[in-house]
C-alpha cells in the first residue's frame, strides 16, 4: 500500500527583488518525510516564523507547487492533479485548518453555508436530508450541533467555537489527512486545550492523520507522535516526539527548548530568563 503522504526532497524557492538585484529566498530547502497510510498519527512540524513550515503546509495542500522535488499523496504526485474532478477528489481526502478562526469564514455570510457546501461539493451528497445529517454528525464530533450553529454569523461566535466549526467542516468528507496550521495559537487559553484534545480524538477515534504545525513546543509535546523541527527551510531534527523534546540534540533545538518559558518558574522574577543579547542571537 503506498504511503499516505510522501514528501521527497521538496524545495521551494522564491525570487525576490527588482531587475537589478534579485535575491533567492529558499523557503523550503530539501524536506523529506513519509506518513504511512494504515497508521494514523499526529505529525508535528515545529518552527519559528520564516522556518518554512507554512510554505511546506501549503505545498502539501497543493496550494503551492514545489520548485523541485516531489510530494506524493497515496502514490500520486500532486503536480499530476489537474482538472476540477481530480482536485475535488484530492480535497475529499486532504483538508486544512487555518490559524485565524475569525478569518476562516466570510464575515458577511452564515457559517453553516460552508459546511453545506463541503457536503455537497466535496462529499458529493445531494439530498438535503443527507447534507444536514452529515453536517450535524461532523459538528457533534467536535462537541457542537447543527441546531446551535444554524443561521449564525461568524461575529456571533467565539474563537474557540469558530475553530471547532472549521474542524467540523474539514471532517465532513471523512478525509484521511488534515493539515492544521497553528490551529490554537489564536484561540483563548481556556478554550485551547479542548481543541488540542479534539485533535487527539480525531486520530484515535476517526483514524485521521494530522499534520500539526506550531511554534509552541508545549502543546507539541502533549499530543504529537512524531516531530520535525525546521529552521530556515531545513529540517534540523526529527524523530519520536517525546524523545526529541525531552532530549534535543541539534543546537537549534536545544536553544528552542531552552527559550520555552515554563510556569514552574513562577516567582523567579526573570532570573531564569537567559542573558538578553546572547539568547536572542541578534
Amino acid at each position: 500500500m503506498p504511503p499516505l503522504l510522501e514528501v521527497a526532497d521538496a524545495h521551494r524557492v522564491y525570487s525576490l527583488g527588482s531587475i537589478f538585484s534579485r535575491h533567492r529566498l529558499r523557503a523550503v530547502d530539501g524536506v523529506s518525510f513519509t506518513m504511512e497510510a494504515d497508521k494514523p498519527e499526529i505529525f508535528t512540524i515545529v518552527g519559528e516564523s520564516g522556518s518554512g513550515k507554512t510554505t511546506l503546509a501549503r505545498m502539501i495542500l497543493n496550494m503551492v507547487r514545489p520548485s523541485s522535488g516531489a510530494i506524493r499523496f497515496r502514490g500520486q504526485d500532486l503536480s499530476q492533479i489537474r482538472g476540477g474532478q481530480a482536485r475535488l477528489a484530492f480535497m475529499k481526502q486532504v483538508q486544512p485548518i487555518f490559524q485565524n478562526p475569525f478569518e476562516a469564514f466570510n464575515p458577511l455570510k452564515k457559517v453553516d453555508r460552508y459546511l453545506f457546501m463541503t457536503a455537497r461539493h466535496i462529499a458529493g451528497l445531494t439530498a438535503t436530508t443527507e447534507i444536514e445529517a452529515a453536517t450535524d454528525e461532523a459538528l457533534r464530533n467536535v462537541g457542537l450541533s447543527l441546531g446551535e450553529i444554524r443561521g449564525r454569523y461568524p461575529h456571533e461566535l467565539s474563537g474557540g467555537q469558530l475553530q471547532r466549526i472549521a474542524i467540523a467542516r474539514s471532517l465532513i468528507s471523512k478525509p484521511a489527512l488534515i493539515v492544521a496550521d497553528e490551529p490554537v495559537s489564536m484561540v483563548d487559553a481556556s478554550l485551547r486545550m479542548s481543541i488540542v484534545n479534539l485533535l487527539r480524538r480525531l486520530r484515535d477515534g476517526m483514524g485521521v492523520s494530522i499534520i500539526y504545525i506550531t511554534h509552541d513546543l508545549a502543546t507539541a509535546y502533549y499530543i504529537s507522535d512524531r516531530i520535525i523541527i525546521m529552521n530556515k527551510g531545513r529540517v534540523v531534527e526529527s524523530g519520536a516526539a517525546r524523545a526529541v523534546l525531552d532530549n534535543p540534540q541539534h543546537p537549534y533545538s536545544i536553544r528552542l527548548k531552552q527559550a520555552v518559558l515554563s510556569p514552574e518558574a513562577a516567582g523567579s522574577a526573570g532570573t531564569l530568563l537567559a542573558e538578553s543579547a546572547a539568547a536572542a542571537g541578534q
Binding site: M63, P96, F98, M117
Partner: protein
C-alpha cells in the same frame, strides 16, 4: 431596505441626494402624460415666455418647453443609466476575473484595461458619429460609450478582488469545493457591490455629461429630444441672442439638479462602502 432607510435618516447628503434625484425622476415620469408627442413641432405658439398657460415658456419651434423637458430628461436619464449599467457589468467581470485569476490572465486583461483608459474619448466618439452617421442610434451610442467607460473602475474592482483572494475565507471556500465562478459571485461580490453602486452614480454623471456635450455639438441623433439636443436646437435658433432664455435655462437647471443629486448619492455611499463601518454595522 432597512439600510436605505437608515441612510436616509442619518446621512444628510443621502437624504438631499434622494430628494433631488426623486424630483428629477418624477419630472421624467410626467413625460408619459404629455399631451404633445415629443417630435412634433409648431403645436403651440412659438417664443412665448414663461406664463400661466405655458409654465416654462415655448421654443422657437413651437414646442411647450415643460412637456419637451419631461421627454428630454427622461431620455437623458435612461441613456445615462444604460451606459452605466453596461459598463458596470463589464468592469465587474473583468475586474473580478483579473483580480482572482492573477498570472497571465491578469496581465492580458490589465493591458487591455490600460489601453482603454488612455483612449481619448471625445475624438473617438465624434469619429464614431461620422462613421455611423445615418445608422447612428442611441443604442449604438450607449454601447460605444459603455465600452469606453469600464476601464477605470475595473482596476478598482480588481484591487479589491486581489485582496479578497488572499484572505483565508477564500481558501476555506476553495476547500469547500466552490468553483471560481461561485466564489466570485457569492463570496466576493458582496464586498464589491457597494463600490459598483457608488461608481454607478459617477458613471451616470459622466455619461450624461458626455451625451450633453455630444448632442450640443450635434454629434448625435438630433431628432430624439434629450437635454443636449434641446440645447442644440436652442443654439441653432440663436435663442440666447434672440432673448429666448427659458429654452436654455430650464434644461440646464434640470440636468444640474440631476447631477448634484447623483453626486450626493455617490458621495454618501462612500461612508456606507467603507468595509470597516459595514462590519461595525453587521456586528451591531
Amino acid at each position: 431596505m432597512r439600510v436605505v432607510l437608515d441612510l436616509f435618516r442619518y446621512n444628510r447628503e443621502f437624504a438631499i441626494g434622494v430628494v433631488l434625484l426623486g424630483f428629477v425622476v418624477i419630472f421624467a415620469a410626467l413625460s408619459f402624460f404629455s399631451p404633445f408627442p415629443p417630435n412634433d413641432a409648431f403645436v403651440v405658439p412659438p417664443d412665448v415666455p414663461p406664463s400661466w398657460a405655458y409654465p416654462l415658456g415655448t421654443t422657437s419651434r413651437g414646442q411647450d418647453v415643460f412637456w419637451l423637458l419631461t421627454f428630454a430628461i427622461r431620455n437623458t436619464l435612461l441613456f445615462g443609466l444604460a451606459v452605466a449599467l453596461i459598463s458596470r457589468i463589464l468592469s465587474l467581470v473583468i475586474g473580478l476575473v483579473a483580480g482572482y485569476a492573477g498570472g497571465i490572465v491578469d496581465r492580458v486583461l490589465m493591458s487591455l484595461n490600460d489601453t482603454f483608459i488612455v483612449i481619448p474619448l471625445f475624438p473617438i466618439l465624434v469619429l464614431f458619429y461620422f462613421v455611423m452617421r445615418d445608422k447612428m442610434s442611441w443604442g449604438l451610442l450607449a454601447l460605444a460609450m459603455s465600452c469606453l467607460g469600464w476601464a477605470y473602475d475595473a482596476r478598482l474592482i480588481r484591487s479589491v478582488a486581489m485582496s479578497l483572494r488572499t484572505r483565508e475565507f477564500t481558501e476555506t471556500s476553495i476547500f469547500s469545493g466552490m468553483s471560481m465562478r461561485q466564489i466570485l459571485t457569492q463570496e466576493h461580490l458582496p464586498y464589491v457591490m457597494p463600490i459598483v453602486f457608488s461608481t454607478l452614480m459617477n458613471n451616470m454623471n459622466w455619461s450624461i455629461g458626455l451625451e450633453v456635450t455630444l448632442s450640443v455639438l450635434g454629434f448625435t441623433d438630433i431628432n430624439t429630444p434629450t437635454i443636449g439636443v434641446m440645447i442644440y436646437w436652442a443654439n441653432q435658433h440663436t435663442a440666447l441672442v434672440a432673448g429666448i432664455w427659458w429654452w436654455i435655462l430650464f434644461p440646464v437647471l434640470l440636468v444640474v439638479i440631476a447631477f448634484v443629486g447623483l453626486f450626493l448619492l455617490a458621495v454618501s455611499m462612500n461612508e456606507h462602502i467603507d468595509p470597516r463601518s459595514r462590519l461595525n454595522r453587521v456586528t451591531g
